[in-house]
């Protein structure tokens, strides 16, 4: 199934060949980015409806089921609603900054999509420091939160913006440090090389994905938590939840600009999920060799959908963390655990040359011990604070 796997690549080469040589670089660039611009907003629409129906089923109810078959055209109805709503800007607001803020969110997030490998030979831009590029543009999105909160000339949106920025910069550190272990072990920042390093399985039934190593498993979990916090999703959605300070920094945005913020947030979620898949879950690689007849971009899409479902599942399960609980969690738990994870990854690397019997098992156990023992100690230390509550009057 090589042809199906490389279908998009060959299609792009054929179309670029139709242009005159002077216009070919431009055509190539446009053809690389247009599918991203079409596909991911469509996936955003489908994700909103999957989220509403998934959350509904988890909460013993149906989701929207009136528009389209089983309600799957609801995102079209929502999009039309957002487009036709009146765009209200407060009179005292800073109009220029208020207008630009959604774009400052969207543009870096779309830039981040350009270095991710979506399939075999399917990276829009394959630069040497792809991971660094991703984190650099990811950190530029925090400025839009400030711009949105400040320009609304509303003290509640300012408070919400402050909390939002504090949350985003606190969780950026565990995100980067969790990815650092992967870079350490692979030895390169290039995302295609990171995927290639996960291609040869240990045994036919165990892929060499980073998530199947102790440091990779812990790193993936830490990455997952930090990614949830970076995209402002439950349980970390204090800045923008409906029952919080009236939607925080987004309160003065209506209609299309709100839809752009929404789009930017979900696109950020897709980008960081795709990065997690590339770093830890083997990117576009199939888990077992006999499944390689399924195209690589389809594997990537399946993994992306399962990550999205995981985020929806977590959203349906957990209550929201308060801001101080959130910050304490980032600085007092996540950061030490990521540093310990780096030590465990270093042990894994240096123990590669062990010649004792059951070397793999021994390496696994020792690295896991380095990670699990501090986790367990920390759990015991805070268990007193989370003791079972005694209610005096309620039975």
């Amino acid at each position: 199934m090589e042809a199906v796997d490389q279908a998009f690549v060959s299609l792009k080469h054929w179309i670029v060949g139709l242009f005159p040589p002077v216009a070919q670089p431009w055509a190539s660039i446009l053809l690389s980015i247009t599918p991203i611009l079409i596909f991911f907003p469509l996936l955003f629409g489908i994700t909103t409806i999957l989220e509403r129906k998934g959350l509904g089923r988890m909460q013993n109810r149906l989701g929207p089921n009136r528009v389209g078959p089983a309600g799957f055209f609801q995102f079209i109805a929502d999009g039309l609603k957002m487009l036709t709503k009146e765009d209200i800007v407060p009179r005292a607001a800073d109009h220029a900054v208020h207008f630009i803020a959604p774009f400052v969110l969207l543009v870096p997030v779309l830039l981040a999509f350009s270095v991710l490998p979506y399939g075999r030979n399917m990276v829009p831009i394959d630069i040497d420091s792809g991971l660094l590029f991703f984190f650099a543009v990811g950190s530029a999105t925090e400025l839009s939160v400030f711009m949105a909160g400040w320009s609304s000339c509303n003290k509640y949106s300012l408070l919400g913006a402050m909390r939002g920025i504090a949350q985003m910069i606190s969780y950026e550190l565990p995100l980067v440090l969790a990815s650092l272990t992967v870079v350490m072990m692979v030895g390169s920042l290039r995302l295609t090389e990171i995927v290639d390093a996960q291609s040869v399985p240990y045994w036919p039934w165990l892929p060499r994905w980073h998530v199947f190593t102790p440091w990779g498993c812990a790193g993936f979990l830490l990455f997952l938590v930090a990614a949830t916090a970076e995209s402002n999703r439950t349980p970390f959605d204090i800045p923008e939840a409906e029952s919080e300070i009236i939607a925080g920094y987004l309160v003065e945005y209506s209609g299309f600009k709100y839809a752009l913020f929404f789009l930017g947030e979900y696109l950020g979620l897709f980008a960081v999920s795709s990065l997690g898949i590339t770093l830890f879950l083997g990117g576009w690689l199939p888990p077992f060799a006999f499944l390689s007849f399924i195209p690589s971009w389809l594997w990537f899409f399946v993994k992306l959908l399962s990550m999205i479902f995981l985020f929806i599942w977590i959203r349906g399960t957990l209550p929201r963390l308060r801001t101080d609980q959130l910050m304490a969690f980032a600085w007092k738990f996540m950061l030490p655990m990521t540093l310990i994870n780096i030590v465990a990854a270093a042990l894994w690397h240096f123990s590669r040359g062990w010649e004792v019997p059951f070397a793999l098992g021994l390496r696994w156990l020792s690295c896991a011990a380095i990670l699990v023992v501090p986790y367990w100690i920390f759990g015991r230390a805070v268990a007193t604070r989370f003791a079972k509550r005694i209610y005096r009057y309620a039975t």
Binding site: R57, L318, W376
Partner: protein, 211 residues
């Protein structure tokens, strides 16, 4: 261990998710207006008038006594008595209402009209889909909108209706028994009178025949 609560919560949500497709009790949504929740028997919304039998106008139990109009707290009932009379279920001639209006935008469903009606003529309906686009005339229910048959009453409040029917049947039986007893007494009195006139008339039998 830290994190076990999260794991337990996620298992529960997963069970809800999967169960909502397979298990009846895990998906309790009633898709109105295609499906409706069955109402309890004692539910009530606004009043209606009961008529016995097939035809509404001759079978209407209401005799326009206007007790409900006087007892209604927000005064939402408006009754105008008709000049013509009609027989009720016992055969006695009773008044009937020409106009019987209830303004359901005012009615507060307190059921006082039902409690004070001596003729079991007005009962509480369970109909709740009464929305209309006309705020004034659309919410003024007239006699023709209000009268519904006794079968309908049996359907929506079976226990109450059976009780009412039993009581009315009892009354009817009592009235019939009384009527029969009266008739027998009258017959006996007539017989006695006939015997008395016959005995009084026998001394002068051939000349004056019994009148």
């Amino acid at each position: 261990m830290l994190g076990s609560g999260i794991a337990k919560g996620m298992i529960e949500t997963a069970r809800n998710f999967v169960g909502s497709y397979t298990d009846e009790s895990r998906l309790v949504t009633v898709e109105y207006p295609e499906e409706r929740l069955p109402l309890k028997e004692a539910s009530r919304n606004f009043p209606f008038l009961v008529y016995d039998g097939e035809d509404a106008a001759p079978g209407l139990r209401c005799v326009a006594c206007q007790i409900c109009e006087k007892e209604c707290p927000p005064q939402c009932i408006y009754i105008v008595k008709d000049t013509a009379k009609k027989p009720d279920y016992l055969g006695k001639m009773q008044f009937q209402p020409r106009v019987f209006d209830i303004d359901v935008s005012v009615c507060m469903s307190c059921q006082i009209c039902v409690e004070v009606c001596p003729f079991e003529a007005i009962k509480m309906d369970t109909e709740y889909e009464l929305s209309t686009s006309d705020r004034f005339d659309g919410l003024l229910l007239k006699k023709e909108d209000l009268w519904k048959s006794n079968e309908y009453y049996q359907k929506i409040h079976p226990t109450e209706a059976t009780e009412v029917d039993r009581r009315l049947a009892e009354e009817k039986a009592k009235a019939e028994a009384k009527a029969k007893a009266d008739a027998e007494k009258a017959k006996a009195a007539a017989d006695a009178k006939k015997a008395a006139t016959a005995t009084a008339a026998t001394p002068s039998a051939p000349t004056s025949p019994a009148a």
